[in-house]
């Protein structure tokens, strides 16, 4: 007898993507099951012990504004917090927090366990069930676990992370496990391939963990957290999270370290050719750094705590797949690590994932109705990238079952939009990491205004409460009013003003000026001009922050908004799903092939495909017009 269940949505994998996907579906009232090979691995952080960082911090805040869980969870469990790039422009300020890994995982598991409509199931999913609905078109019907249990459902969200046919490499020793020695999922790949899904193989790595008691911190530089902690979540009261923080430590590699690595390169599985997967360039192993940047005399190494209740320390900057004996020798050349004891060895991991160009911007498979995917399975890397996609995939699975409009964001709306557009449009040959340089409109996509940008979307989906939404609306109102007041309030070139300007090292006024013009001066700001602005009312800090940014960078922001306007014109030109590119004359061959393969949803997306020229786009526009004319007939 088969054990049979009927639910709405199945989420495969309970990492950062799976958790967000499952929570989104369950919170929207759909009966949801989340599968994991091990309950212990829910929201596991198998690599670095932090959340956020440059551009990743943006993702977390956006996710939070939309109604995701990651921001709230790290606010509950962080042990150190820092705003990176504080001395640079507001667009690149990025929040990063050190997490207590075990606590992070436990807290998230608790949220999942207590979520209505959500069931956690420890089981390996082996097979997807589907039916053919047309030429090359399929529809998802459910899935089957290793023990033979069948779950019938209307949507599946794949968030398998690094578990599919995973193998870990540490020098010559290879184990066929997922991260941290957890069980790999070895059967699902075959089922996916049978459905016609194209798989690829990626690789990533992690450094060693060391016993704190074996390290000499007196030889390292102490790295403190910020004095004033900024929360990730817009729902977290900043006052509630000001607490004692733990330190991280900075030390450096040296010539001796590099020599040991160079002498043992032949024993590295990557250089020996054993690893076939493509590794990320932005997160190179120490071997890679030494080989590629041979002229660098030293590399930074950050020693970071893995949690409050463990002695394990994460050795950031020195991931490696060299054999154990070489690892020990190499680590021990680093000041402070001379007597280090390694608790867990560094290792590289290989896993199956997909070319995400098989997905629509909703993260649904183009050819399989009801099949969605997110996270490392889509060829990304990083907890934050995973969570963001998991959320979007989950929401869209829910939206399609509820018959509501899908959640999509374009490149001018959010980093999440950039992330997904890059994944589904570009040919990514390595795990994709978010970077601020990937966001062409980053001046508008700041971490400080994620709520103003995205709360409304979250509210419309149904994952942001009325109260939270109203809070953002009020904030917006206050910002607009204050900017208007500052623009309209003029001060004359009188003695009081001139004295004030002189005192602050600013040149005197020639004619009357608005307060906003005065704030614009590099040497002045909103706070400083208080004495010449007696009429101001006391405003919350986050409102003042927005007012100041909007005024100070107005020129740049306006310029970027104009670019966005141009960009959106092309995004709005949708391409019908059933377009036959063979019917479009004059397209160059390369363009035709790429368009046929990727089937972009808009002319804008088409224009970002490599090999599609501006002339091809013009041709396409003309064709679409003709097509529209034909539809009318």
């Amino acid at each position: 007898m088969e054990y049979k269940n009927e639910v709405d949505v199945c989420v495969v994998g309970a990492g950062h993507a799976g958790c967000e996907a499952a929570l989104a579906c369950a919170r929207l009232g759909l009966e949801t099951v989340i599968f994991t090979v091990s309950i212990e691995s829910i929201a596991l952080m198998p690599c670095n012990p932090n959340v956020g960082g440059t551009s990743k911090g943006h993702l977390v805040r956006e996710l939070d504004a939309l109604g995701g869980e990651m921001g709230k969870n790290i606010d509950k469990t962080f042990i150190q917090s820092k705003m990176l790039n504080g001395s640079k422009g507001p667009a690149v300020h990025s929040l990063r927090a050190q997490a207590d890994k075990a606590e992070y995982s436990r807290a998230m598991r608790k949220v999942l366990e207590n979520q209505d409509h959500l069931t956690i199931k420890q089981a390996e999913v082996c097979e997807l069930l589907w039916e053919e609905t047309g030429a090359k078109k399929k529809k998802i019907k459910g899935l089957k676990t290793f023990t033979g249990a069948i779950y019938e459902c209307r949507a599946v969200v794949l968030c398998t992370g690094t578990y599919l046919r995973a193998r870990c490499l540490c020098g010559e020793s290879i184990t066929y496990t997922g991260p941290n020695g957890l069980q790999a999922a070895n059967h699902l790949t075959a089922s996916l391939e049978k459905m016609g899904i194209e798989m690829r193989r990626f690789k990533t790595g992690t450094p060693a963990r060391m016993d704190k008691r074996s390290l000499d911190f007196s030889k390292m530089e102490e790295q403190f957290g910020d004095e004033r902690i900024v929360p990730f979540s817009f729902s977290t009261d900043p006052e509630s999270i000001q607490k004692d923080q733990v330190s991280c430590w900075l030390t450096y590699t040296n010539e001796k370290t590099h020599e040991i690595i160079r002498n043992n390169l032949d024993r590295s599985p990557i250089y020996a050719g054993i690893i076939e997967g493509t590794g990320p360039r932005y997160c190179p192993s120490i071997e890679d750094k030494v080989v590629k940047f041979a002229d660098k005399e030293r590399h930074q190494v950050f020693i970071e705590p893995e949690g409050l209740y463990t002695n394990e320390m994460y050795v950031s900057g020195m991931s490696s797949s060299l054999p154990e004996d070489v690892q020990v020798a190499m680590y021990r050349t680093v000041p402070g690590l001379e007597h280090c004891k390694i608790v867990r060895n560094a290792y590289a991991i290989e896993y199956d994932c997909i070319d995400a160009r098989q997905l629509k911007p909703t993260l649904e498979f183009r050819e399989v109705e009801g099949l969605f995917s997110g996270g490392q399975f889509n060829g990304s890397s990083g907890y934050e990238e995973a969570a963001s996609q998991g959320f979007v995939a989950g929401v869209n699975a829910a939206m399609s079952l509820l018959g509501k409009a899908p959640l999509t964001m374009d490149r001018s709306e959010s980093y999440i939009g950039v992330l997904i557009d890059d994944l589904v449009t570009k040919d990514n040959r390595e795990p994709y990491r978010m970077m601020t340089s990937r966001a062409e409109y980053r001046l508008l996509l700041r971490q400080d205004n994620a709520d103003l940008r995205l709360r409304k979307k979250g509210y419309e989906i149904g994952l942001v409460s009325e109260e939270e939404y109203q809070k953002t609306c009020r904030k917006k109102e206050l910002i607009d009013q204050e900017i208007q007041r500052l623009k309209e309030t003029k001060v004359g070139a009188n003695k009081e003003i001139q004295d004030f300007l002189e005192k602050n090292g600013s040149s005197p006024l020639k004619t009357a000026a608005s307060l906003s013009e005065i704030i614009c001066r590099p040497e002045l700001d909103y706070g400083k001009i208080r004495e010449i602005d007696p009429d101001r009312t006391l405003l919350p800090a986050d409102v003042i922050e927005q007012v100041e940014i909007e005024i100070k960078y107005e020129g740049y922001i306006t310029r970027q908004m104009r670019q966005v306007e141009q960009y959106r014109k092309m995004e709005k030109r949708k391409i019908p799903e059933n377009i036959d590119y063979d019917d479009v004359p004059s397209l160059r061959i390369e363009a035709r092939q790429k368009l046929k393969m990727l089937r972009p949803v808009s002319v804008g997306q088409a224009s970002r495909i490599s090999g599609v020229s501006p002339a091809d786009i013009s041709v396409l526009l003309v064709y679409l017009e003709k097509y529209r004319g034909r539809e009318k007939d």
């Binding site: 640079k88 190179p284 590399h299 991931s319 970077m435 590099p522 064709y623």
Partner: protein, 475 residues
Amino acid sequence: MKTDTIASIATGMTQAGIGIIRVSGEEAIGIVDRVYRNAKGERSLLHAKSHTLHYGYIVKNKDQELQEHAREDWKKSILDEVLVAVMKAPHSYTMEDTVEINCHGGVLVMHKVLKEVLENGARLAEPGEFTKRAFLNGRIDLTKAEAVMDVIQSRNEWALSSSMEQLKGSVSRQIKELRSKLIYEIAFIESALDDPEHISLDGYPERLSGKLEEFLAEIKKLIDSADYGTKMKEGINTVIVGKPNVGKSSLLNLLLGKERAIVTEIAGTTRDVIQESIQLQGIGLNLMDTAGIRSTQDTVERIGVERARNLAKDADLLLYVVDASTPLDERDDDIFPLVKDRKSIILLNKSDLTSVVGEEEIYEKVKDKDVRIVRTSTLEHTGLEELESAIVDLFFQGKVSWNQEVTITNLRHKEALQEAYDSLRLVVQSIENGMPEDFYSIDLMGAYAALGRIIGEEVGEDLVNEIFSKFCMGK
């Protein structure tokens, strides 16, 4: 959908230099109004009725706006005498407001008028864009869509190839080098922003300032050299070469319409270089007559001969005068290498006498089938018109059939260079205003993209690739 306003030369740029500049889009009338004055010196197009023709002038708008006194003396700012046709939407080819400017003043002037229109708010039309708009606005019916698509694609291919053709190897190399320097700086900034704990920007703004000065100077030079307008204004440096006494000075005089060089029957009469400027259908020519090339013992004349050789090397155009009535000799063999693979025209002079040198022989000597040969007689004043049209042809038609594209392509290059220049100026400003470093890369990227357009390269993944290959990132 609001569209921007485009402009381009709509007719073939004939030697006569009569042609139409078409401006289409919402701002078309406003833009042309800014640069147009009627016979009384008034701006009068804004309220013009549709399908009316206006006689007047195109003026330099900057002069008019910047200088009070210039308004009184507006005639000094006149670029050309024109007829302007105003057609209002939807009754025009593109179904948008359209203005057509009929110019009379020749190639150079037309170029200037177009430039003026562009500087006052229009954008240079893409290849096939008028047709595309006509279609998208419903002017061309759906059955012709395929023809429209063909036009767009073929014009674009043509424009690209002609663009590449016109880029000297050295220029495109220079642009590539400049781009690689720019992307390095952007990648450095971006690496530091993405990985602030590993890469520091301390002291960087000062370093960048120095480099920007270099970049700006380099682009400025390119703009100057790319400027056909300047070339035409400064004139094409034309050197007349040939053996002594073949009629070089007579030719010069003929072109000048006056006696300037000393013309005698004695070989070697022209001992120095004689320079004169003339206008040929709107194109300036700086004509240089040189001493005949022959071995000589006379010191004064020897200096003249050497100068002739040097001048010939740097010339934009060589006119090689051959005496068709006497056989070619070894002195001609010395000259043929000078004209090979250059913009040059060979004149078979003294064609009034019995000819012993034929075209075939010349082709064989030069080993270039494309060389232009014109028969002239300076004595009987024949062949002059053919010579003129050969020169115009050589510079403004090239080997291509749509001669206006040459100017357009150049304009496109220049526009892109100017955009790159302006973007880098904005970076300088950002540094001066003490803006944070992340603001620099916005405009550096703008400059990088603009330069890429000249050599047909897109931005794509360049930045990310540069970051990873040049800077050591991350955990």
